[in-house]
Symmetry: C2
Subunit: 615 residues, 2 copies
């Protein structure tokens, strides 16, 4: 395509963006119009992609980091023949694949769900990492960013990560249209301001008029031929470009054009230009070895082992068995114990330093390329990446998150380091799996099993040692539980997980000395939860005490109630959890102060049984 | 103090850091030793502070962003006479004020809780904003950062914010000791790498040998006299400085020294140098007008008003009544409706652009200075700041967070913009208050009431219009609820909040047509929850249906169960919530698809009542 044809194509993308938003009665046409030239040149001259084979290993990858510009993306899909005009006009309607913000759950050409700003580039880094370090494929990753979203710190975590890894297969195209949602951005059209920042972080930068198709073409060529560092193209554009009534004007973000017909006429009317996208180069399919044998590490009953240590050993072993397992860590691998994996599988280990958002985003990008990532840090610090976990679930990304140092049981370090909200956060993620093992052999089994789940999976590990209570050949199905104590005379059930399992067992001993038999359930699968076992326990024992090293909201106690929320009678329940704000103290002192140690459990259990008798 | 004396003081801080960690058997002495000269020069020559009057308005403010270096902070407190040696040696023990990471809940000289890295500087920006823009006081904010934590994106959100606001009262002192927890940082001792980044973001930078007390002294002087921009001092240091066995060595993060006695001898033994900290300059006390009259906006019953609109008007009115109320927004003020406040109280409005972490951190900093901040964005995007909210609760910070665009009811924009995890996130925050109004007058009352709560308070608002159902003079106490329908014949109770209140009322009408009387409870106070009303409803009607525009975990349904988790009999319960992954559709279609509209509620209620009859 020559200059005139590229310009025509860009106008078509504008017209179709206006039409789609008009048909929907909502959407972001002005944010699409600013970037139309950028996308037109990309798809017509540089993007290599087989739309019939989105899984082709040689395909370039495109990420719309400014996800609200979906009308532009969908108009480009139409231009390349991937969707037809009828589907384009189904934009934002019930059942349409063309959602307000693009998601890979609906569209095979979308790499990751966007719509929360500042996430596309971080995920793009993960994809580029796969291309460069794992697949060693020649594909290029193009990420279209907005200028507003450069205010997100996650963008600079990504910038740092990409430059450090010399990702010259990655290009960030920044649509500097000067206007955010509510008004001008901090830097307006000062392209230098952005260029200085990217350069300082180690990127090659190119400043360009984002409506000059030839200049854009040259910039893409320069980006593709830049070696050793990623490229950021800073493109000066006008929001609503091409339609006088909206061009470069405030107050028009996220609204259909006031007069779509007039705008379309001003843009030269509809066109029907078809783009022949370049074929991707031949590339070998990624043959990650999924079928390898996992030789789980084994511990003898009675050994004292921290579940984080068991996790580390198990992950290293899983990496030996499966070639598709990769690990990431937020610079605490000596605490989470991913260091074992790093030592044995250095080529599949990604040090993300203290940048949890980028760590989770990179995991999403790696998962998009077929890898099975385990991203690990302290449970408390996974809260830093909450929005990324949320978006991962919208993507349907299969990622494993591992949070160590759960709960008050970590002891002296104090509340800033204690995961006390992580179960609530992870349970509320759509379609998630939440696991919380209490011993080493159980951990080793769950580490491997979680890889087989859909969606976001979370494993919670503990800092301190605990005795091994299960044999190495025991099974721990996801959605199951283990009844550790049971008799026909049980008068209550203690439901625990992780560190509180050991406290519950000691409490059961104490209660038995008082003549009260207690059932003990190890609820290692917090979500999905083992409804049948819990219901049976409720029916047979009448009373339930749940005990967890977590705040009282959203954790184990609430998970147990899931078993009873279909209108059936609910048992008498007492929930023990961390209600105060801990300070520094030893692990035992912490458990006692929080009222979740054996003594507290026994006292609560006794009281509950006595009350049940009275009433 | 001259050079020799400053050097001696720094050695004392090292010795005391080693002693404190040795007494505790844990802690971070090596991270303290690298920064000892930096802190010695600061307290002896530049810091202006009255330790007897931490509330003195002229006091400089110090934030230990690398919170794990608490032994250094506490050793400095000892050197200035704020704590004695016995207390120093209580470090990390049960009941001690000297926790593993410092918190203002325990120590009056601590501005904000740290320990989650990359948060001190963002909060420091909030404090400096108060000094510069609100208090117009001459105090200086000094933030001691680690080099590792510069990998956190939040640091660059803060850098951007500080430079944009020309915070020349802010100095970041970066202890570049080259070593993170698990090994070398990305940039080692390359001070230029950090300086380039800060400069690109608009900061003045100074590179210095962090063990040369005279050079440090000059750097602080230069920082204090720099006008128009914040200063970053990049200090080259050695971790574990002064003790050969640990100095500049890997693998010694977060551990007491292997031989404390030998280390203390090598450092020249204990000293007892007392530092006379400079007096703060006279400054007027901040007289924020708390007692002003709040003239709540009023709406007539039957009007159609979005609760986000009511929030915007109410916040502007509250700002008129109270001079201590300030507002922050993540560049979506036209959506959250903080724009009304921005228009009327521009001097107390802080545009944070799309940087939610920095927005919440700045709110924490402003609260530390006595302001009552309201920080607002889409509910979905508050997840971005989860770790900051968590740390705010550890600080005991009184901040108001407002999340708009709650739930599937937003319609076409799709799941990336829907707050569906926010209630779970906010409920699990220690000591939080969670409010979710359903009409305009209720919103207006709660906006003012939440300012009076302790800790983190959250208000959830809706995008779409809903009818005003309460009069403008009705009271809505926090911890209360409203029974909207009630009779002696009620056979079930519908518990709803926000948008689902209106659906529940319609469902009650439908059920009544089927001969089933249903009570309707508006549970606007999700936490604390109105246990008495819920228990009475359970006793009198037997069956409860909870219905919420939120994922099923951690939200309204779980909040209702709080009323029954003390061992008392629990009612039959059905929980209606968003279980699938929404796409794009109209608000009504979304509510129906999620099974939380009037029709779904009525169907569930009918089934529950029928089952209760059968069983």
């Amino acid at each position: 395509m020559n200059t005139a044809e590229l310009t025509e194509l860009a106008q078509q993308l504008r017209v179709d963006s206006v039409r789609a938003a008009a048909a929907a009665g909502s959407g972001h046409p002005t944010s699409s119009m600013s970037a139309a030239d950028l996308v037109a040149v990309l798809i017509a001259r540089h993007f290599r992609y087989d739309f019939d084979r989105p899984a082709h290993p040689g395909n370039d990858r495109f990420v719309l980091s400014k996800g609200h510009a979906s009308p532009l993306l969908y108009s480009a899909y139409k231009a390349v023949g991937a969707v037809d005009d009828d589907e384009l006009l189904s934009f934002r309607k019930l059942g349409s694949r063309l959602e307000g913000h693009p998601t890979p759950r609906r569209l095979p050409w979308v790499e990751t769900a966007t719509g929360s700003l500042g996430q596309g580039l971080p995920v793009g880094v993960g994809i580029a990492l796969s291309g460069k370090r794992l697949e060693r494929s020649g594909y290029r990753v193009w990420v279209l960013c907005g200028d507003s979203e450069l205010a997100e710190g996650s963008v600079w975590e990504a910038a740092e990560h990409a430059a450090y890894e010399h990702l010259d297969n990655l290009t960030a195209i920044v649509d500097v249209n000067r206007l955010g949602q509510r008004g001008p951005t901090r830097h307006g059209h000062d392209l230098d301001a952005y260029a200085r920042r990217f350069q300082a972080f180690g990127w090659h930068t190119i400043e360009v008029d984002g409506h000059d198709v030839d200049a854009i073409d040259r910039a893409y060529g320069e980006a593709a031929s830049t070696v050793g560092q990623p490229t950021a193209i800073l493109a000066r554009t006008l929001k609503g470009k091409g339609v006088e009534a909206v061009q470069d004007r405030e107050g028009l973000h996220g609204k259909p054009l006031p007069d779509a017909d007039e705008a379309i006429a001003e843009l030269g009317g509809p066109r029907d230009i078809r783009v022949q996208v370049q074929e991707p180069p031949a590339a070998r399919m990624l043959h990650a070895v999924r079928a390898g044998h996992y030789e789980a590490p084994r511990w003898d009953k009675g050994e004292e082992v921290a579940t984080r240590n068991a996790f580390g050993e198990a992950l290293a072993a899983l990496g030996s068995g499966r070639g598709d397992v990769v690990a990431l860590d937020g610079e605490v691998g000596d605490s989470t114990r991913t260091e074992a994996f790093a030592k044995e599988h250095a080529e599949r280990y990604f040090e993300c330093y203290i940048a949890e958002q980028e760590m989770v985003a990179a995991a999403v990008g790696l998962a998009a390329r077929g890898w099975v990532p385990y991203a690990c840090t302290f449970a408390a610090f996974l809260t830093r990446a909450h929005d990324f976990v949320r978006m991962a679930s919208i993507s349907g990304a299969g990622i494993n998150l591992v949070g160590s140092h759960a709960g008050v049981a970590i002891g002296q370090d104090g509340p800033s380091q204690m995961g006390l909200e992580d179960l609530a956060m992870m349970r509320a993620v759509h379609g998630s799996t939440v696991l919380y093992p209490c011993d080493a052999n159980q951990t080793a089994q769950l580490v491997a099993a979680m890889a087989g789940c859909e969606g976001v999976r979370y494993l919670r590990t503990s800092r301190g040692e605990s005795p091994v209570i299960y044999g190495p050949d025991e099974d721990f199905p996801i959605g199951g539980s283990k009844v550790l104590r049971s008799s026909a005379d049980d008068r209550l059930t203690l439901v625990a997980a992780g560190v509180t399992v050991h406290e519950a067992l000691a409490a059961a001993d104490a209660l038995e000395r008082d003549g009260i038999r207690a059932r003990v359930v190890d609820l290692y699968s917090v979500k999905p939860v083992d409804r049948l076992t819990l219901r049976r326990a409720a029916e047979e024992t009448g009373c339930l005490v749940t005990v967890e090293d977590h705040h009282e909201e959203g954790g184990l106690g609430d998970a147990v109630l899931d078993a009873f929320l279909d209108g059936r009678p609910v048992p008498r329940l007492v929930r023990l959890a961390v209600r105060g704000m801990p300070g520094s103290a030893s692990p035992d002192e912490q458990l006692h102060a929080a009222g979740i140690d054996a003594e507290s459990i026994a006292a609560a259990g006794k009281l509950l049984v006595e009350e049940a008798v009275v009433s």
